[in-house]
C-alpha cells in the first residue's frame, strides 16, 4: 500500500481518481482549489478519464454535477466558504432527486470580513438540505471518507448526495502521511455507480414534476427514511472498508477515554487531535475527562453521542461555527447534542450539564492550554451549574502562540 506525504485536498483527489469519477465540475475559491488543480492535471495527464467541466460559479458547479448524476455518472465537486452558501438553492433539488454527488468542502469563514481561516459555519448552514454531511480531521480521513461517502451515498437504500468536509488549511493544506489503497482494493470496496432511474432515452422517465400538497408528506418521508437508513449502510461500509484496507476506522464517533469520563469535550474536526493531547496531560493529573468526536453531522449520531455522554456530569461542546441567537446560546452543534441527550433514542438517566465553547473561530488556532481552560470550566460545571451557557475560549483564554 503506497504511503504518501500529502495534504488533505490531495488525499481527496487521489481517492477521486481511484473512484474513477466521470464528471468533475470546478470553480476556484480558497482553500479547496487544490483539489481541482490536481484533478484537472490528472485529466490532462490521462490518469483519470473524466469530463472536467468549468462551472460558471458554485451554483452552476452544483447544477452540472446534478445533471451528470441524473444521467448516471459518478461525480465530484467541491467548494469553500461563501462558495458553499452561494448555491443554497441547488442542495435540496439534488438530494430530492436522489443524486449521490459528492462535494468536498475545505471549510472557510463566511464573509464579512474576508478571512481564509476555517470555520464550520459554511457547510453546517446546509445541514438541513438532505445531504449526508460529515467531517474529516486528518488528510488520511479525507481519503477514507471520500471512498466511504461514495459507497454510502450510492447505495440503492440511500441515494443521497454527500458533503465531505474538512478544516480549511489545517487539513486541506497541512501535509501528513496518507495510506493510499491499491486500485484493486478500491474496486473491491466501491462498485461502479448504477443509477436507478437515469435520464436515458431508452427508458424515458420524468424527474421532479409538481406534486399535490397531499403527496408532500410521503415524498419528504422517503428522504427522512433514506438518511436514517444510511446508518445501517454506514456501519456495513465502514466494516468492509476496515477489512479490505486493513484499517481501523470508526463508523459514527471517535471516542477518547470515554469509559470512565466524568466530564467530556464534544468536538469535530482537526482540533480534536490537539484536544487528545490535552486530555493525556489532564488524565496524568487525575482529571477524568474524555472526548467525543462525531464523524457525521447528518445523520447525526444521536444514539452514539447520547450513550457516550450519558454517564458524564458535564459536557462542553466546542463550536467552530456560528448560529447567532440559536437555542443553546451558541453555535449549531450545542442544540444537536442537547437534543440527542434528552430525546430518547438512548435512555439517559441524568442529563449532564452542557456548556458551549466558541473556539477556533475565523481559523484561530486552538491550543492545548485552551482545552485545559475548558476542562477547568467543565470541572466546575460538574459540581453544580455553569456560571453561563457559552464561553468564548478564543477571547476568554488568550494564549501565546
Amino acid at each position: 500500500m503506497p504511503k504518501k506525504f500529502i495534504p488533505g485536498l490531495a488525499a481527496a483527489a487521489n481517492a477521486a481518481v481511484q473512484a474513477d469519477v466521470d464528471v468533475i465540475s470546478s470553480y476556484p475559491i480558497r482553500p479547496y482549489t487544490g483539489l481541482m488543480i490536481q484533478l484537472s492535471q490528472a485529466v490532462a495527464n490521462g490518469d483519470l478519464d473524466a469530463e472536467f467541466v468549468h462551472g460558471e460559479g458554485e451554483h452552476g458547479q452544483l447544477a452540472i454535477v446534478h445533471g451528470a448524476s441524473l444521467a448516471g455518472a459518478r461525480t465530484m465537486t467541491g467548494s469553500s466558504g461563501v462558495g458553499v452558501t452561494y448555491p443554497m438553492e441547488v442542495y435540496s433539488p439534488i438530494s430530492g432527486d436522489r443524486c449521490p454527488v459528492q462535494m468536498v468542502i475545505a471549510d472557510r469563514t463566511l464573509d464579512p470580513p474576508g478571512d481564509f481561516g476555517q470555520e464550520h459555519t459554511d457547510a453546517l448552514s446546509t445541514k438541513d438540505q438532505g445531504w449526508l454531511l460529515g467531517w474529516a480531521s486528518l488528510p488520511q480521513e479525507v481519503y477514507d471518507n471520500t471512498l466511504i461517502y461514495y459507497r454510502v451515498g450510492e447505495d440503492p437504500k440511500v441515494l443521497l448526495p454527500q458533503m465531505n468536509c474538512h478544516d480549511g488549511y489545517f487539513v486541506s493544506h497541512i501535509a501528513n502521511w496518507v495510506n493510499i489503497g491499491e486500485q484493486s482494493q478500491v474496486d473491491e470496496f466501491l462498485p461502479p455507480y448504477k443509477a436507478q432511474r437515469p435520464l436515458d432515452p431508452l427508458r424515458p422517465v420524468g424527474h421532479g414534476p409538481q406534486i399535490y400538497a397531499n403527496q408532500g408528506p410521503a415524498l419528504e418521508a422517503t428522504r427522512f427514511n433514506a438518511i436514517w437508513g444510511a446508518r445501517e449502510v454506514i456501519q456495513q461500509a465502514v466494516k468492509e472498508y476496515n477489512e479490505i484496507f486493513k484499517r481501523d476506522v470508526d463508523p459514527f464517533v471517535e471516542l477518547y477515554h470515554m469509559d470512565d469520563a466524568e466530564i467530556a469535550i464534544f468536538i469535530q474536526g482537526c482540533h480534536a487531535h490537539t484536544c487528545k493531547y490535552a486530555i493525556d496531560d489532564l488524565r496524568k493529573e487525575g482529571v477524568k475527562i474524555g472526548m467525543v468526536r462525531p464523524k457525521w453531522i447528518r445523520p447525526f449520531p444521536s444514539p452514539e453521542v447520547a450513550e457516550a455522554l450519558s454517564k458524564c456530569k458535564a459536557v462542553g461542546v466546542v463550536e467552530t461555527n456560528n448560529s447567532f441567537g440559536a437555542s443553546g446560546y451558541a453555535g449549531q452543534l450545542t442544540p444537536e447534542v442537547c437534543a440527542a441527550l434528552v430525546k430518547g433514542a438512548v435512555k439517559v438517566d441524568k442529563v449532564p450539564q452542557v456548556a458551549s465553547f466558541m473556539a477556533g473561530l475565523g481559523g484561530h488556532p486552538v491550543k492545548i492550554e485552551q482545552f485545559k481552560f475548558m476542562a477547568e470550566i467543565l470541572a466546575k460545571g460538574a459540581k453544580g451549574q455553569f456560571d453561563k451557557p457559552t464561553y468564548w475560549v478564543d477571547l476568554e483564554c488568550e494564549v501565546e502562540m
Partner: protein, 116 residues
C-alpha cells in the same frame, strides 16, 4: 447498534410515492390520461370534412396536441383533451372549422370528480 428501523417512518401504502418523485413517461403518440382536459371546452371546433383540403395547417397549430391525423390525412378532434382554444379554426385557410358552443352537445367529455 441502535435499531435504525425505529428511526424511520412507515409510509401508508395508499400514500406511497416513488423516491425522488420520478414518474414514468407516457408512450409516444399517447396521452397523459391523468389529466383529460376536455371539460375546459366552452366552444367546440367542428370540422366540415367536405370542405377540408387536408392541408394539415390546423394539425400543427394545436397546442395539446389533440387533432388526430388519419392515414388519408383527414383530421378529427380528440374531445377528451381539446380545451376549445380555437387556434385550429383561426388558422384554417379555407375556414372550414366552425366554433360551436359545447352546451349544444351532450356527452363527449370525460366525467371527473374534480378538474384535476
Amino acid at each position: 447498534m441502535f435499531d435504525t428501523k425505529k428511526l424511520q417512518v412507515p409510509i401508508p401504502a395508499h400514500l406511497e410515492i416513488p423516491e425522488g418523485g420520478v414518474v414514468e413517461s407516457p408512450k409516444p403518440d399517447g396521452e397523459q390520461d391523468q389529466f383529460p382536459s376536455g371539460g375546459w371546452r366552452i366552444l367546440r371546433s367542428v370540422i366540415d370534412q367536405e370542405r377540408c383540403t387536408k392541408c394539415l395547417t390546423c394539425w400543427l397549430a394545436c397546442p395539446e396536441p389533440c387533432i388526430e391525423l388519419a392515414e388519408d390525412r383527414s383530421v378529427s378532434i380528440d374531445l377528451k383533451y381539446c380545451k376549445g382554444c380555437g387556434c385550429c379554426a383561426n388558422v384554417c385557410p379555407v375556414q372550414c372549422i366552425s366554433r360551436v358552443p359545447e352546451s349544444d352537445f351532450k356527452g363527449d367529455v370525460e366525467f371527473m370528480d374534480e378538474p384535476f
